[in-house]
C-alpha cells in the first residue's frame, strides 16, 4: 500500500487522473485461469471448515426456530398490535437492500464501462442472489401459513378471486421475484464461459459431467460471443431499471400507507440509496476476506477497495441528506403527527436506535474522506460493520419507532423482540454466509472471461501484447 504521490507537475497530475490498471503484477490470460479456477472444487483449507461449521450452526438454529414458529404460530415473536411489523420486515428490507450492490456493480457499472467492476461482479452477483433468498424467507414465514403463500400468485381458482393488484404488498411480490429471477439469469449467463473453461480443465469424470451440462456446450465461437455480448448488455440495461425499481417498490410498502413517518415522497430514492449503501458495505467486508484467504490481491486490488469505499462515502452523505430532509419535512409540514413521529426517532423510547443509525450511517463513514483509512483493512472493516449495523437499525427505527405510538394513545406499546426473533435473524446471517462459503468453493469467484477481456494486451487494439 503505497501512499499517494506528491508530484505536482502537469504531467504527473494527468498520470494520476488516468485510471489505474485493473490488476497488479504480471498476469497472463492463462495464468488468470490457473489462479482463479484451480482452487475450484478442491478440498478446502481448515479455516473454511471452521467458518462453515459456525455458519451452518447458525443456519440450523434459524431453521429450528422457523419450524417452532410455524408449528406454534407467529405469536412466538414479539410482534403485536400496534407493532404488527417488526423483525420480519426489518430483516426483509435489510436483506433485499444487501442484494442491491450486486446488481449495481454487475449492471449499472457495466453500462458506465467501469472496468474495475469485472473483478468483483461475479462475487457480488452471487451475494445478490443469496441475499434475496434470505429476504424472501421473511415475508414467507410472516404470513404464518407459508404453504398457502401460492395464494399470492394470480392463478384461476375455485374461489373466483384475484389478488389485489393495487396493493403495494403484491407489487413487492412481483418486484422481488422478478429481481431474483433476472439476477439468477444474469449470473448464470455470466457463468457459462467460465463453466466451459472448468469443463475443459478438469480431469475428474463426475465434475466434468456436471460442468458439461451446466456449460450447455459453450464453445466460444465468435458468432456466439457476438449474440452473447449484445444480450448481456441488454440484460444489464434492464437490470438497471430493475435495481432502481425493486427497492422503490419495497419503500412503497411504507410510503403508500398513511402512517406518519412512512407516508413520504422521499422514500423511494432514500431506500434505494440505503440499499446500495448497505450492499457495498457487505461487498467490501466479503472482498477483504476473499482476497486475503484466496490470495487474489493482484486481481482485487487496493484500487478496487478504494473505489468501493468512495461509493460508500457518497451513499453515506446522501443518507445524511435524507435524514435531514425527514426532520425538515416534519418541521416544514407543520403536521403534528409527523412531528411527533420524528421526535420519537431521536428523543422517544427508542432514541438510542435513532442515534445509533445516525452515528453508524452518517458520522463513522466520514472517516473515509481520509485516503489512508480508505486503503487500510481495519479502517474499511470498521466502516463496513458500522454501516451494516446502522442500516439494520435504520429499518428498525422506520418500522418500530413509527408504529409503536400510533394514532390511538391507548394502544401504544413498547415492542420487545423474543429469543425467536433474534434466533431467526442469526439464522438468516448463517444462511447467507453458508451459501457464500459454498459458492466460493464450487464456482469461480471471479468472472474469468470478463477479466481476460480487460487484461493488458488482450484486445487487438493494444499492439504488442504480452503474448508476442
Amino acid at each position: 500500500m503505497k501512499s499517494g504521490s506528491t508530484l505536482t507537475t502537469a504531467e504527473s497530475t494527468l498520470q494520476l487522473l488516468k485510471p489505474p490498471s485493473v490488476v497488479t503484477g504480471h498476469l497472463t490470460i492463462g495464468g488468470l485461469d490457473d489462479q482463479v479456477l484451480t482452487p475450484v472444487g478442491t478440498k478446502p483449507p481448515l479455516a473454511w471448515f471452521v467458518a462453515f461449521s459456525v455458519t451452518l450452526s447458525a443456519t440450523l438454529i434459524g431453521i429450528a426456530l422457523i419450524a417452532y414458529t410455524i408449528a406454534t404460530g407467529i405469536g412466538v415473536w414479539g410482534n403485536n398490535v400496534p407493532v404488527a411489523w417488526a423483525f420480519d420486515i426489518i430483516n426483509f428490507v435489510f436483506w433485499v437492500g444487501i442484494g442491491h450492490a450486486g446488481t449495481l456493480i454487475s449492471a449499472i457499472l457495466l453500462l458506465f464501462r467501469a472496468r474495475w467492476r469485472n473483478a468483483i461482479s461475479r462475487f457480488s452477483e452471487a451475494m445478490t442472489i443469496f441475499a434475496v433468498i434470505c429476504a424472501t424467507l421473511f415475508p414467507l414465514i410472516h404470513v404464518g401459513r407459508p404453504w398457502l403463500a401460492f395464494w399470492l400468485a394470480p392463478y384461476p381458482n375455485q374461489r373466483a378471486i384475484w389478488p389485489n393488484f393495487r396493493s403495494p404488498l403484491l407489487w413487492d411480490v412481483f418486484a422481488v421475484n422478478t429481481y431474483f429471477l433476472v439476477s439468477l439469469l444474469f449470473w448464470y449467463i455470466g457463468l457459462i464461459p467460465d463453466l466451459a473453461s472448468l469443463r475443459d480443465r478438469t480431469t475428474n469424470r463426475v465434475k466434468k459431467a456436471v460442468y458439461t451440462v451446466l456449460a450447455l456446450g459453450w464453445r466460444g465461437a465468435s458468432l456466439h460471443w457476438h449474440h452473447y455480448e449484445r444480450a448481456y448488455l441488454i440484460i444489464a440495461g434492464l437490470a438497471t431499471g430493475l435495481v432502481l425499481s425493486v427497492h422503490s417498490v419495497v419503500s412503497f410498502d411504507f410510503a403508500v400507507s398513511l402512517v406518519p413517518g412512512w407516508h413520504m415522497t422521499i422514500f423511494p430514492p432514500y431506500f434505494v440509496t440505503g440499499a446500495i449503501f448497505a450492499g457495498f458495505a457487505m461487498v467490501v467486508m466479503a472482498m477483504v476476506v476473499v482476497r486475503k484467504t484466496m490470495r487474489l490481491e493482484n486481481l482485487i486490488t487496493d484500487y478496487h477497495l478504494e473505489v468501493m469505499n468512495k461509493v460508500i462515502l457518497t451513499c453515506s452523505c446522501l443518507m445524511g441528506y435524507a435524514y435531514l430532509l425527514e426532520g425538515f419535512t416534519a418541521w416544514y409540514s407543520m403536521n403534528p403527527y409527523i412531528h411527533h413521529t420524528f421526535m420519537q426517532y431521536i428523543t422517544g423510547s427508542y432514541w438510542w436506535a435513532g442515534w445509533l443509525t445516525i452515528t453508524c450511517n452518517v458520522l463513522i463513514p466520514q472517516l473515509l474522506w481520509l485516503r489512508p483509512i480508505r486503503r487500510s483493512y481495519s479502517g474499511m472493516i470498521l466502516v463496513a460493520v458500522a454501516v451494516t449495523v446502522g442500516m439494520w437499525f435504520e429499518r428498525f427505527v422506520i418500522i418500530v419507532s413509527s408504529l409503536h405510538q400510533d394514532f390511538l394513545p391507548s394502544s401504544w406499546q413498547i415492542y420487545k423482540p423474543t429469543f425467536v426473533d433474534y434466533g431467526i435473524l442469526l439464522g438468516s446471517f448463517g444462511l447467507f454466509f453458508t451459501l457464500v462459503l459454498l459458492f466460493a468453493r464450487v464456482l469461480p469467484v471471479i468472472a474469468t472471461s470478463e477479466m481476460k477481456m480487460v487484461l493488458p494486451g488482450s484486445q487487438p487494439a493494444h499492439k504488442g501484447g504480452r503474448h508476442e
Partner: protein
C-alpha cells in the same frame, strides 16, 4: 486418419492480434466458411467475420411490449372486470396503481427473451454434440488461445492446402476436426435407460414424500380451516355435566321456523293453506330452492325427465302432469316434508318458507307447461 467426414480444419493462434491478421488473407485464398473460437469476446472480430447485427434487441423490444401490454391488460381485466373490488376508494380502472407490476413483468419478459433467446434460439445451445467439443483445440480456446476454423459444411475441402495456409499465416498448430460418429442419444438403449432412471426417481420421491408426511406430521397439507378447535355433532364435551356436546332446546320452547310438523297423512295435509303471497321475491326464492334441490331428479321444467333418471332407472313424478297440477298446495307441501316412494324427506334441506315458496314455483311450472293462448301477453 479415419474415413469419417471432415468437419473443419482448425488453426491455433497465440493472440487475438495474430488471429485477426490472418483472417483477411485466408479468406482471400479459401472459398469456405470461417469461424473463430476465442476465450473472450474480441473487439472487431465479428465485423471481420461478417456477422450481421445481432437481432437480440428487436426480440427484446417485441417481447417487452407484449409483456407490458399483457400485464396491464390482465390487471385491468382482473381488478376492473372479473373481480371488481373497490379498494382504497380508487376507481376500478385505476391504471396508475398497475404500473409497478406492469414494469416488473416487462423487465421479466424482456430479460428472459434476451437471455434464453440468445442461448436457445440464436446460439442453439445446449448443444453437446458439436464436433469442436471433442477436439483437442477447445481446451486451449477456453483457456487462452484463439482458433480459426475453416469449415467444410458437407462439402469437400482440401485439408493439406488449408493446413499449409493456416501455418503460413501464423497458426502455431493445426488440427483436423471430424464429424462425430452418428447415434448415441437417440438409441433405444438410451431411451430405456433414461425412462428406467426417471421411473426409479419418481418411485423414490413418492416413498420419501409419503414417509415424511407420515412420520413427521407437523405440517398437515391442505387441511385449511378444517382443523380448528370446535365441537362436531355427537362429539363429547367435558364442559357440560352430562358429558354431551349437543344441547337440548330449553323445555317448552320452539325455535323460529322450526314448528314441528305433526300431520301423518297426505290426505289430511290438503287443508293446509300456503301462508306466502305470490310475490316476485317468493317466486324467485322458490325457483332457487327448486333448482338446488328438486331439479336434479324432476328436471328444470318439472317434467321428470333428466339424465339422472336414465342413469338410475328411477321414475320421478312428472310434476306438471294434470294429476299433480290438480292437487292442493298442502298435499304438495306434505310430500316435500315427508317424502314419497323413492323420494326422501327434504325437511332438513328446506326451511318452512322455502317449502311453501317451492310449492308456488311448482304452480308456475305447471302453468307454463300447460299454457293457453290467453297466457300470451298482448
Amino acid at each position: 486418419m479415419s474415413d469419417r467426414k471432415i468437419f473443419s480444419v482448425v488453426g491455433i493462434f497465440d493472440s487475438a492480434q495474430h488471429l485477426m491478421n490472418a483472417i483477411p488473407d485466408i479468406r482471400k485464398r479459401v472459398n469456405a466458411p470461417l469461424e473463430a473460437y476465442t476465450p473472450y469476446p474480441v473487439e472487431g472480430l465479428d465485423k471481420l467475420l461478417g456477422h450481421r447485427k445481432s437481432p437480440v434487441g428487436g426480440m427484446v423490444l417485441v417481447m417487452g411490449i407484449i409483456g407490458a401490454l399483457s400485464a396491464l391488460g390482465f390487471e385491468l381485466w382482473t381488478s376492473g372486470r372479473d373481480y371488481p373490488q373497490v379498494t382504497a376508494g380508487k376507481p376500478l380502472f385505476s391504471w396508475e396503481a398497475f404500473v409497478p407490476i406492469m414494469f416488473e413483468v416487462t423487465v421479466l419478459f424482456a430479460a428472459f427473451t434476451a437471455g434464453l433467446g440468445m442461448l436457445l434460439l440464436l446460439n442453439r445451445l445446449p448443444m453437446f454434440r458439436h464436433p469442436m467439443l471433442r477436439s483437442s483445440s477447445l481446451p486451449l480456446v477456453t483457456r487462452d488461445r484463439f482458433a480459426l476454423a475453416v469449415e467444410a459444411r458437407g462439402a469437400e475441402i482440401d485439408v493439406e492446402k488449408i493446413t499449409r495456409l493456416l501455418q503460413e499465416f501464423g497458426a502455431k498448430s493445426v488440427e483436423v476436426v471430424e464429424e462425430p460418429a452418428p447415434a448415441g442419444v437417440a438409441s433405444p438403449k438410451f431411451f430405456l435407460r433414461t425412462l428406467t432412471a426417471i421411473g426409479i426417481v419418481c418411485i423414490l420421491a413418492g416413498f420419501i414424500t409419503y414417509w415424511t408426511m407420515k412420520l413427521f406430521p407437523i405440517v398437515k397439507p391442505m387441511v385449511h380451516m378444517l382443523d380448528q378447535p370446535r365441537l362436531n355433532p355427537q362429539s363429547p364435551s367435558r364442559y357440560f355435566s352430562d358429558g354431551s356436546g349437543m344441547r337440548m332446546p330449553v323445555s317448552g320452547t320452539v325455535a323460529r321456523g322450526s314448528v314441528p310438523y305433526t300431520i301423518r297423512n297426505q290426505e289430511l295435509a290438503g287443508d293446509l293453506v300456503n301462508p306466502l303471497y305470490r310475490t316476485e321475491t317468493v317466486l324467485r326464492q322458490g325457483r332457487q330452492a327448486y333448482m338446488n334441490n328438486c331439479s336434479v331428479c324432476h328436471g328444470v321444467l318439472g317434467d321428470g325427465k333428466t339424465s339422472l333418471t336414465k342413469a338410475y332407472g328411477a321414475k320421478p313424478a312428472n310434476l306438471v302432469s294434470q294429476s299433480i297440477a290438480g292437487l292442493p298446495d298442502g298435499k304438495l307441501y306434505h310430500v316435500i316434508v315427508a317424502g314419497k316412494n323413492a323420494m326422501a324427506s327434504y325437511s332438513a334441506e328446506l326451511g318452512e318458507d322455502e317449502r311453501w315458496a317451492t310449492v308456488h314455483y311448482l304452480r308456475v311450472l305447471q302453468r307454463a307447461a300447460n299454457a293457453r293462448d290467453e297466457d300470451i301477453p298482448k
